[in-house]
């Protein structure tokens, strides 16, 4: 059922961690990459935390192949735009009538590193956590089962809808719709593709609701779990430690100018 999510099923230590632990680790790394003042902070978090964790889970290769596709377009845009057009920057490399500015390049380097760390941390969770385990542990923490139902059934529904969209495109092409070509042709082809897809799937909503009702979806009271997800003592402790450290990091970041002034004055 998880065919279209990123999750890769493997029996390794990282995968066996409680999903909440992975979520907290990932959020902690994101905060770390955001609050550390150093220009290389993102790269340091990525190399010293994201990469080792990915190696532990045996998911470094898929993580990297997804990650560079996400980060590269941002990096290119940033280096070109902020590098060339930094207002009042110091020119370092001349390119004809333009020049790359030092400040813009430093900015782009810093943000690219941060993106590597942030997107890498997100990918750690989605590559290393079975969505159903994640939902079970969220439910056990009090998230309503209607929310977890929504997420899990959407994951199941997306491939079907994708297949349907391809059928609609083929059918409309057979009737002479131009789905390729210049921007105007592609834009005009959108509505004949989107409308049947959306209408067709919304018509099914009624039946889905009846099927849900027949299975006691809106029944009040406690529900039991068919499966449970392991939550070891040390993982609970680790989550607390990370949450408290994250709080201190954020506080430290906010108070940093005052601390600096105090030290400078003393």
């Amino acid at each position: 059922m998880t065919a279209n999510t990123l999750y890769i099923d493997q029996d390794r230590g990282f995968q066996r961690l409680n999903p909440l632990t992975k979520l907290v680790i990932s959020l902690f790394l994101i905060i770390l990459a955001l609050v550390l003042p150093c220009m290389w902070a993102g790269y340091i978090v990525f190399l010293l935390a994201v990469v080792p964790l990915a190696l532990w889970g045996g998911i470094l290769r898929p993580l990297w192949s997804a990650l560079w596709k996400i980060v590269l377009p941002f990096a290119i845009s940033m280096f070109v735009i902020q590098g060339l057009f930094w207002t009042g920057g110091t020119p370092v490399v001349a390119l004809g009538p333009f020049s790359l500015k030092a400040e813009g390049l430093i900015f782009a380097t810093r943000i690219t590193g941060r993106l590597l760390a942030i997107m890498g941390s997100f990918l750690l969770v989605s590559l290393g956590t079975a969505p159903d385990d994640l939902m079970i542990s969220l439910e056990q923490r009090g998230v309503p089962n209607s929310i977890t139902y929504i997420i899990l059934s959407t994951i199941q529904l997306v491939p079907g809808l994708q297949a349907r969209s391809e059928k609609i495109r083929d059918a409309q092409r057979a009737r002479g719709l131009e789905t390729e070509g210049n921007i105007i042709q592609r834009t005009r082809s959108m509505l004949p593709l989107v409308e049947p897809l959306v209408l067709g799937s919304i018509i099914d909503v009624d039946e889905r609701a009846i099927a849900l009702e027949a299975r006691g979806f809106s029944r009040e009271g406690d529900k039991t779990f068919y499966r449970t997800v392991e939550d070891r003592r040390w993982e609970q402790t680790l989550r607390w430690v990370l949450a408290v450290s994250a709080l201190f990091l954020i506080l430290g970041r906010i108070l940093w100018p005052f601390i600096g002034r105090f030290l400078g004055g003393g």
């Binding site: 290119i76 018509i203 979806f217």
Partner: protein
């Protein structure tokens, strides 16, 4: 609280599932087709807001962007609150009866686009260095070249894209609702937003 319970019926949850899948599938198609200035990745969110209320719209928007993360594109996760606001606003405009006049509904789309642009600019500037990694970065470059700050350039780019995208999205939702049968629409908790009183009047339906 009472209204909230009435909004979140079983059919609302069934609708949210379909709306999320629509957002993701249509959003992916539009992204791959490389059409400028539109994403169309919140059509389902606007639709849910309109027929199931602002809070259901909010939930749909937030979950859409979180689900993108699980399905392979974590780049949308930081914009989850803004997607939620889009659903919330579509719900408010629906409750104000704006859907019933086409120009008010499109104005609602425009206002939603404005708010979305204002809220997403700080995220784009702070987290993504002011760029989107897509073709619209040409606009960002233009704004930067003419002396705008990173935040101003991100806002300028966002305004142009979001105003167009949200107005088009509201228009597409308008077309979809017009094409849906009254029997189905009347099952949704906020059907009064999209149906005239005469549609719900059994005698007039039987007369037709």
């Amino acid at each position: 609280m009472e209204r909230l319970k009435k909004d979140f019926t079983t059919i609302t949850f069934a609708l949210i599932v379909v709306a999320l899948a629509i957002n993701i599938v249509v959003g992916t198609i539009v992204f791959q087709t490389k059409i400028p200035f539109v994403y169309l990745d919140q059509i389902g969110t606007v639709l849910v807001g309109l027929v199931a209320g602002p809070w259901a719209g909010l939930l749909t928007g937030v979950l859409t962007n979180l689900l993108w993360g699980l399905l392979g594109n974590p780049g949308y996760v930081p914009y989850a609150p803004i997607a939620g606001v889009i659903g919330l606003m579509a719900g408010w405009f629906g409750s104000m009866g704006w859907y019933k006049s086409w120009w008010k509904w499109l104005l609602g789309g425009l206002i939603t686009g404005l708010v979305a642009a204002l809220l997403s600019a700080p995220i784009t500037a702070y987290l993504y260095g002011g760029v989107t990694g897509a073709g619209t970065d040409l606009l960002t470059g233009m704004f930067r070249a003419t002396g705008s700050s990173i935040m101003e350039a991100a806002l300028g780019q966002g305004l142009i894209t979001d105003l167009i995208d949200k107005t088009v999205s509201f228009f597409v939702v308008w077309l979809i609702i017009k094409a849906l049968p009254t029997t189905l629409l009347s099952r949704f908790p906020r059907s009064e937003n999209v149906l005239e009183a005469s549609d719900l009047d059994l005698d007039s339906v039987l007369d037709q």
